[in-house]
């Protein structure tokens, strides 16, 4: 099954890394196929950052995301630029600390930045979102996500990031 | 070995005009190279484009005769890939200071271990006498028919400012001093730059009142101001004559260098 996931937020939140981690989890540990792409702007910080991943059981031919079925949105500007046009059948995970708009599609409010700030560190808000993404959609397995996070984060921050993932897994749980 | 054993005799006769000073500079350079006791197979001559840059073609080593202005960039590749090689570059004022100016300042900045001999005839000789970045003010060339209106570069000041470890200037008259300067350059780790003012009777001399080769060489001799003397004048608060140029060892230092022989 082909999933097309779009991440958006502001530069510095780790939007690109989030997409890389999910792609890595799928390819390296779930034995699936994935292609990760991103939009490059001249800004290294701020602005609206966007990154996408296609995950499939079969080899991926056309590598770009056409109609995302999953969104992870972490800033208001990111929502307006890359989330507002979401198809009704999509599902959107919203960082409810930072995004006040809501889409027409199904959405899950994840207070990732607020919770990360309160209990961990604000820098791991994107990992909280990844945990929530996986518990809500199961695009990759929890175990694979964990391994891909450990591959990708700086040494010495492993515990912090795994706690963030765990927090996200809880926040994303659907009844 | 003697310096004439470095010549590629099957290339003779050479292309230089009667009265050209480039041969003098090649001889002085090879004499210095010969004194280093280097092996031919470990020595690479590199050049760009112009009269000066034809020199490696007459020398019996591996050599790269490259594109206009780019000799130092090619030489950087050779020397960084194989620091065991001895790398000597022949260039001219147009090749080095105009089209190759950026490569020149960056090779000095990197202080890459090579010796660069610049034959500065103050004109583009091979293409028939156009003005160069070192053509003196008011001098005539085919592209400065009313006299050169642009101030010239001081290549030695440029090399010093950009970071070269060794910088010297002599003229085609000062053969003993030049040979010694090239030798010190070859011995000094890092970037060594030796500028040699040289007569070009065909393209420069005949346009600029040097009808005889000897007149121009005499001019170079009489307008040379030894660095020590210039420094003394400055110390004493005396004026430095404006129509003279400084010769001698201008810079010698030991900045960190790249590509130095292991």
């Amino acid at each position: 099954m082909r999933h097309e996931i779009r991440f958006s937020g502001f530069g510095g939140q780790g939007i690109i890394l989030s997409a890389v981690i999910i792609g890595r989890a799928a390819v390296m540990y779930d034995n699936k196929f994935a292609v990760q792409t991103q939009v490059y702007g001249p800004e290294a910080r701020g602005g609206a950052s966007m990154s996408q991943v296609v995950i499939d059981d079969e080899q991926i031919l056309y590598p770009k995301v056409a109609i995302p079925d999953i969104y992870v949105i972490m800033s208001q500007e990111g929502f307006e630029k890359y989330g507002a046009s979401a198809h009704e059948s999509a599902i959107m995970l919203i960082d409810s600390t930072l995004v006040h708009s809501r889409p027409k599609c199904k959405y899950i409010e994840v207070p990732a930045t607020g919770e990360a700030k309160a209990t961990l560190k604000v820098i791991v808000a994107n990992i909280v979102m990844l945990g929530a993404l996986v518990s809500a959609t199961h695009v990759v397995s929890e175990e694979s996500l964990k391994k891909a996070i450990l591959d990708s984060v700086p040494k010495g921050t492993e515990d912090l990031n795994l706690k963030a993932m765990q927090l996200g897994l809880e926040l994303g749980k659907q009844p | 070995m003697s310096y004439d054993e470095w010549f590629r005799t099957d290339r003779l006769p050479h292309i230089y005009c009667a009265g050209c000073g480039n041969g003098t500079i090649i001889n002085c350079t090879l004499a210095a190279v010969d004194q280093m006791g280097w092996k031919k197979e470990d020595t690479v001559f590199v050049s760009g484009i112009g009269c000066s840059s034809r020199a490696p073609g007459y020398i019996l080593t591996d050599s790269l005769h490259t594109t206009h202005g780019r000799a130092l960039a090619f030489a950087t590749g050779v020397k960084m890939a194989k620091p065991a090689f001895n790398v000597v570059v022949f260039t001219g004022d147009g090749d080095l200071a105009a089209i190759g100016g950026n490569h020149f300042i960056h090779a000095c900045r990197r202080n890459i271990d090579m010796t660069v001999v610049c034959m500065n005839n103050q004109i583009y000789g091979m293409t028939g006498g156009q003005g160069s970045p070192t053509t003196p003010l008011k001098c005539l060339s085919s592209t400065t028919p009313y006299g050169c209106a642009e101030p010239p570069f001081d290549l030695c000041e440029l090399a010093t400012a950009a970071g070269a470890n060794y910088v010297a200037r002599w003229t085609s008259y000062h053969v003993k001093e030049l040979e010694k300067a090239v030798k010190v350059g070859l011995e000094t780790p890092g970037f060594s730059f030796i500028e040699v003012l040289v007569q070009c009777p065909t393209a420069f001399g005949r346009r600029n009142k040097f009808r005889q080769v000897a007149d121009h060489v005499e001019f170079l001799k009489s307008h040379s101001l030894l660095k020590a003397k210039r420094d003394r004048l400055i110390d004493q608060g005396q004026p430095v004559p404006e129509d003279m140029f400084v010769v001698g060892e201008i810079t010698k230092r030991n900045r960190p260098a790249m590509g130095v022989k292991p």
Partner: protein, 367 residues
């Protein structure tokens, strides 16, 4: 044996170069190729190789030619504006038969254009951009796997044919991350050994390629960009000698066109045939997969120059060739030279891949 990685195309390119034994990288940062330089800067020194950031792309190209003569496998990586600056010394490498690899991760031009967006606008520049009559080899990858494999192949071709070889990637393939199977080792084809005693540029074999007289081996070779005789000595005013030299430099590449041809053919009986290289290959593959129509063929090209024209003839029933490119139709013109049926360029400018719907729509149009 292979291992699985999730790599960016540019990472795969640098890793392919390292696997191929590249020991010298001279370059200048430019989007969207910079990751290649950054990875080489990190990895080459640990392997005893040299990374040097030159002052511009003219110097980058010069430095890898200098390094190549010392025997090193040398490369640079750039994009359009830098590629334009390299044209001068690319000609020098052709004239002096210097093996080297140039990666061009293409972006939108002309001029500064679209630094972060994809294009294939340099496909004619790579073939004809340097002055004089030249022949070169250009390979175009469509996957991260091919970024690795074709980089290895580029080094082998460069050494074998003594010519600059170009990896003509595009931003799409250079920047995407996907699954790649990385081999433990790769095949290396080195330079033809030089026979001492021969003049350095004397050709004795039917392949028209002289042995390589590496600097430092006592051959005293004079390498010049001037027209030169087989001793390497300038002979710039000898008309027959110039004609023979340039003809040989072109023929040694053009004569090997079939040997170098690298392409895949799908549905050779088809009447409508896509031809693609680089990024657009991915869209065509999607359309082929979705349509499952035996009457739609596909020629997927990896060796773009010299152009593998024989492959076109394998589509005996072809009524038209459809050529999606991220330019205004560059290789489409080359195809036109070789076939009698209509060639339909499908240009896409703006920096994005054709969508599957766009290509499917062209199939529906009346021929």
């Amino acid at each position: 044996m292979t291992r699985t990685e999730f790599w960016q195309g540019n990472t795969a390119c640098a890793e392919g170069a390292l696997a191929a034994g590249c020991t010298f990288f001279g370059g200048y940062p430019i989007t969207p190729s910079t990751e290649v330089a950054e990875l080489m800067a990190a990895k080459l020194p640990k392997k005893g190789g040299i990374f040097i950031q030159m002052e511009d792309e003219i110097a980058s190209m010069a430095s890898i030619i200098g390094a190549s003569w010392t025997g090193a496998r040398a490369m640079t990586a750039t994009s359009g504006p830098g590629f334009s600056l390299m044209m001068e010394n690319i000609g020098f490498a052709v004239m002096t038969e210097t093996p080297c690899v140039v990666v061009n991760v293409q972006r939108g031009g002309p001029s500064t254009g679209q630094p972060t967006m994809s294009a294939q606008g340099d496909m004619m520049q790579v073939r004809f951009g340097s002055h004089g009559d030249i022949a070169i080899i250009a390979l175009s990858p469509a996957t991260v796997q091919e970024m690795f494999e074709l980089t290895v192949k580029a080094f082998n071709h460069a050494d074998k044919y003594r010519v600059p070889v170009f990896l003509m990637a595009d931003e799409t393939v250079g920047h995407m991350r996907e699954k790649i199977l990385v081999p433990d080792s790769v095949e290396k084809i080195g330079r033809k050994p030089f026979v001492p005693g021969n003049p350095p540029f004397k050709v004795t074999d039917p392949d028209l390629i002289p042995g390589f007289p590496t600097f430092g081996t006592g051959q005293h070779v004079h390498v010049t960009g001037l027209t030169h005789d087989e001793r390497g000595y300038p002979a710039a005013t000898n008309p027959p000698l110039h004609a023979a030299l340039v003809k040989r430099l072109v023929d040694k590449i053009e004569n090997a066109r079939d040997e170098m041809a690298d392409y895949d053919i799908v549905n050779p009986e088809a009447e409508q045939v896509f031809v693609a290289y680089g990024g657009p290959v991915r869209t065509v593959m999607q359309v082929m997969h979705d349509k499952k129509d035996k009457n739609v063929g596909f020629l997927r090209i990896r060796t773009v120059w010299p152009f593998p024209e024989k492959a076109l003839l394998e589509f005996k029933n072809a009524k038209r060739f459809l050529v999606p490119e991220m330019n205004l139709g560059q290789i489409a013109r080359e195809i036109e030279r070789h076939v009698t049926v209509p060639v339909v360029p499908i240009p896409k400018l703006g920096g994005e891949l054709h969508t599957p719907a766009e290509l499917a729509a062209v199939l529906e149009e009346k021929a």
